[in-house]
Symmetry: C2
Subunit: 156 residues, 2 copies
DNA sequence: GCCGGTCCGATGACGCGTCAACCAGTTCAC
DNA sequence: GTGAACTGGTTGACGCGTCATCGGACCGGC
């Protein structure tokens, strides 16, 4: 090592770049498909899924943000956009004067009901169908392990 | 299946969501780190790497776009931004009146020289260090295979 | 040579995410 | 209770990526 930097080997580079590209391509396809076929953007989809998972389809911005690992600012911006699209409604929180709820609307329920099968089908045909059970397991393991290390790392 | 939709199993969902989250978190960390430590955004980095890979550090927009799998519009926008930052310069193409070259500047070379070790080090410590050789291989295989299928798919 | 089709890149409008600043409501120490 | 610190959400500015559209250059057949 003449320059003291531990450069990536060909295999490492290949695997890393493959991983990055794969995600980009998959998400590109997926969000494009969702957008054109069901008029629900990927981010909208994620929020709506969270809202339908919970009784009455209402959740604090806070909790949504935590669940999706979004910044509160992003959540606030995004919900206002979703309100404009009629997917969701904002409600004040009686217990905490600062708080706010996002509540899914009927249109929101219809939108996700239409989008979900498309989404699932796409995830299968674009991704899952091409993996073996063992590969799937390895992938899940990798994700869990690396994310755990990321949480630990004081980085930043 | 009462509703005719082949919903994801718990394992499938777990693996898929893990994969997506992992990429988001990794890229978030990585680009944040590059941005704050070396003032080179991830996208800039990608362009600069391509330019340094080639003699004289000059490439057609076209070729850069193909290499990075970017839309030509994105490339055009991004290069104009990079020009403003002084990382790169635009040159007309004598052979093809429509064409344009991006040429790396001295500042561009310095920027990437500073960023590259950081980048490599981060990819290692955030990701590669936590994978076994076998896992790395599996990941590369998966990426290659799925991307191949994506190319085939007439989708869109 | 000319004309339709194609290709390269530019441009403007728009939606999205981040950052920093901010405000009002809450909590906690004292 | 009062003030300081904290928290939940908002806002505005900004950079980025996409889409649609455009203009100019190239290429093919005729």
């Amino acid at each position: 090592m003449t320059d003291g930097v531990n450069w990536l080997t060909a295999e490492e580079q290949h695997a890393w770049r493959g991983f990055v590209r794969l995600h980009e391509r998959l998400m590109g396809r997926l969000s494009h498909l969702l957008q054109t076929e069901s008029h629900v953007a990927a981010a909208d989809y994620a929020v709506l899924v969270n809202l339908t998972d919970v009784p009455e389809g209402r959740q604090r911005y806070q909790d949504l943000a935590r669940a999706l690992e979004w910044e509160k600012s992003r959540m606030s911006h995004h919900i206002t956009r979703m309100i404009k699209r009629g997917l969701v409604v904002r409600e004040d929180c009686p217990e905490d004067g600062r708080g706010a709820f996002a509540v899914i609307t009927e249109a929101g329920r219809e939108a996700i009901a239409a989008a979900a099968p498309l989404h699932v089908q796409a995830v299968r045909s674009l991704f899952l169908d091409h993996l073996t059970a063992a590969e799937l397991r390895t992938l899940a393991e990798i994700s869990a392990r690396v994310m755990e290390r990321l949480d630990d790392a004081p980085e930043r």
